[in-house]
Structure formats: structure tokens, C-alpha cells
């Protein structure tokens, strides 16, 4: 038996080749440009900050800065100012950072510096508010005085430009 069905194919017209062309070349150009732009912005000509904060310093410089703060605290006893100064280093846990550095410095044989660091760590820890006790066991609680507002003599730390 003969099959009389025939495949019907559209007759190609002059405008069809253009319709079949997909705009992938545009996407290719866009991605190519994007890659070139990122390479230029990150590698060839990156943004260079002319000013930075102590938080951007390398670890050895941060240690030196932290140690200087601790020595000033040991000399002046001004905990509020030391606390503000430490905050610009943006350590996740300043007490832990001070304690760790004190141990390293002590191991290197710098006792006076280690003592200053430990003293500041201790001062900060004792100034932190104590967790409240349950109501039934509560006794007259001692809460440390909150840190005062920074004086205008010390620059208020701001975020990285």
C-alpha cells in the first residue's frame, strides 16, 4: 500500500535566514566585555585607597598598633580611650586578641609588653557587663558603669572609605 502522505516543508523565503540567526553573538560580546572590564578593574587598574583604617593593616602592624594602645593604657590608665582605640582595629574579640598577643609576646621574652597587653585585656574584661543571675538567686548586682561617649579629643572611628 502506498503511503500518500508527504512531508510538507515550508518554502524558504529571503527573510528566513535572518530570523533563524539567534542573538547569541550579542550575549557572547556582553560576556566578553564583562570579563575584560573585570580584568581591567581588578587587575590592571584597581581602586587604590589613599587612606585606610587600622583595621586594614597587616597582622604585624596591627600587633604593633595594639601593643602601643596597651602600653598607653598601662601608662595612663584611661580604659575608655583604650577601648575606643582598640575598636578601630575591628577585632572580632578584642580581649581574645589581646590575650593571644600577650602570650606570643611573652614567649618572645618581652615581659613588660606582655604585661601591658594582659592588663588591658583584664581591664576590658572587667568592664564588660556581667550576665544577669536568675531572679530567685539574685543578689544586689553590680553593673559596671557604661563607657562614656567618646570625647572630641579622639577621632570617632568611621568605616573604611
Amino acid at each position: 500500500m502506498l503511503d500518500n502522505t508527504q512531508e510538507i516543508r515550508p518554502i524558504p523565503t529571503a527573510s528566513q535566514p535572518a530570523q533563524k540567526k539567534s542573538p547569541w553573538y550579542l550575549l557572547t560580546g556582553l560576556i566578553l566585555g564583562l570579563i575584560l572590564g573585570l580584568v581591567y578593574a581588578w587587575v590592571i587598574n584597581p581602586v587604590i585607597y589613599e587612606t585606610s583604617s587600622p583595621a586594614n593593616l597587616g597582622d604585624p602592624d596591627k600587633d604593633f598598633y595594639r601593643s602601643t594602645i596597651a602600653q598607653v593604657y598601662a601608662a595612663t590608665g584611661n580604659l575608655e580611650r583604650a577601648s575606643i582605640r582598640l575598636s578601630v582595629l575591628e577585632d572580632p574579640d578584642p580581649v581574645y586578641a589581646l590575650g593571644g598577643q600577650a602570650q606570643r609576646v611573652l614567649a618572645a621574652g618581652h615581659e613588660a609588653e606582655a604585661r601591658a597587653l594582659a592588663l588591658l585585656a583584664s581591664g576590658l574584661q572587667s568592664s564588660q557587663p556581667q550576665p544577669e543571675l536568675p531572679a530567685e538567686t539574685s543578689s544586689p548586682t553590680h553593673t559596671s558603669a557604661p563607657l562614656g561617649l567618646p570625647t572630641h579629643t579622639l577621632p570617632i572611628p568611621t568605616t573604611n572609605p
Binding site: 535572518a18 553573538y25 550579542l26 550575549l27 557572547t28 560580546g29 556582553l30 560576556i31 566578553l32 566585555g33 564583562l34 570579563i35 575584560l36 572590564g37 573585570l38 580584568v39 581591567y40 578593574a41 581588578w42 584597581p46 581602586v47 585607597y49 589613599e50 587612606t51 585606610s52 583604617s53 587600622p54 586594614n56 593593616l57 597587616g58 597582622d59 602592624d61 604593633f64 598598633y65 602601643t68 594602645i69 602600653q71 598607653v72 601608662a75 595612663t76 582605640r85 578601630v88 570625647t151 572630641h152 579629643t153 579622639l154 577621632p155 572609605p161
Partner: protein, 118 residues
């Protein structure tokens, strides 16, 4: 032929748009962050505070050589220049008189040492 030229122009435009987007992202939205900046790039208020710390320590220990060594942390700028800049900044931003005094004392002692050395 005309179609090919048009496609080439669109392709070039796409590259340009992508390039501009890459620059915007790489410069403004997510710029390179340096995690190890040098101390001499510290902003002026931080430099002034470091000079103040050095002056406070000098007031406590009286060790001029150590104070000069500490000021070396801020780079190769001559210490007297650093202190003068810090004092100017502190005066402009109304630092406390006591803070200005310790910085001026350190500046005077450094100047005296420099004069004596010459």
C-alpha cells in the same frame, strides 16, 4: 554585506556594554580590598591619634629614641613633620588642651635634639 556590518556594530556595542558593566562592578560595587595596608596610608585622624599615643608614652617614659622609633611606624616621613601635621590636625579638630600639650612637648624635644645634633 550591510547585515554583516550591522551585526559587527552590535557585537562591538555588546562588548562595550559588558566592559562598562565590568568596570562598574569592579570599581564601585565590589572593588579590590587590600587586607595589608601600610601604616603610612592611615587616614590623618588615625595618624594623629598614633602620634598622640607616642607622645603620651614619651610623657610617661621620657625615652626620646623610643618615641622616634615608634613614629617610624608611620613611614619614612621625618618625625618632626609627622608631629607638626598631627598638631595642625589636632588644633583644627579641637583636641583637648592636654593632648595638644603632650604632642607639643614631644615636638619641642625632638626639635631640640635635632638642633643639638646639627
Amino acid at each position: 554585506m550591510k547585515r554583516r556590518v550591522w551585526r559587527f556594530v552590535l557585537f562591538a556595542l555588546a562588548i562595550l556594554v559588558g566592559f562598562a558593566a565590568g568596570l562598574g562592578y569592579g570599581w564601585a560595587i565590589n572593588p579590590v580590598r587590600y587586607t595589608a595596608a601600610s601604616p603610612d596610608s592611615l587616614r590623618m585622624d588615625y595618624q594623629t591619634d598614633f602620634v598622640l599615643m607616642t607622645a603620651e608614652l614619651y610623657q610617661a617614659d621620657g625615652d626620646l629614641a623610643l618615641a622616634l622609633a615608634r613614629l617610624g611606624f608611620l613611614g619614612n616621613t621625618p618625625p618632626i613633620t609627622l608631629i607638626d601635621q598631627a598638631i595642625t590636625y589636632a588644633e583644627t579638630h579641637l583636641y583637648a588642651a592636654s593632648d595638644l600639650k603632650v604632642m607639643r612637648d614631644l615636638a619641642a624635644d625632638i626639635q631640640q635634639a635635632l638642633d643639638g645634633a646639627q
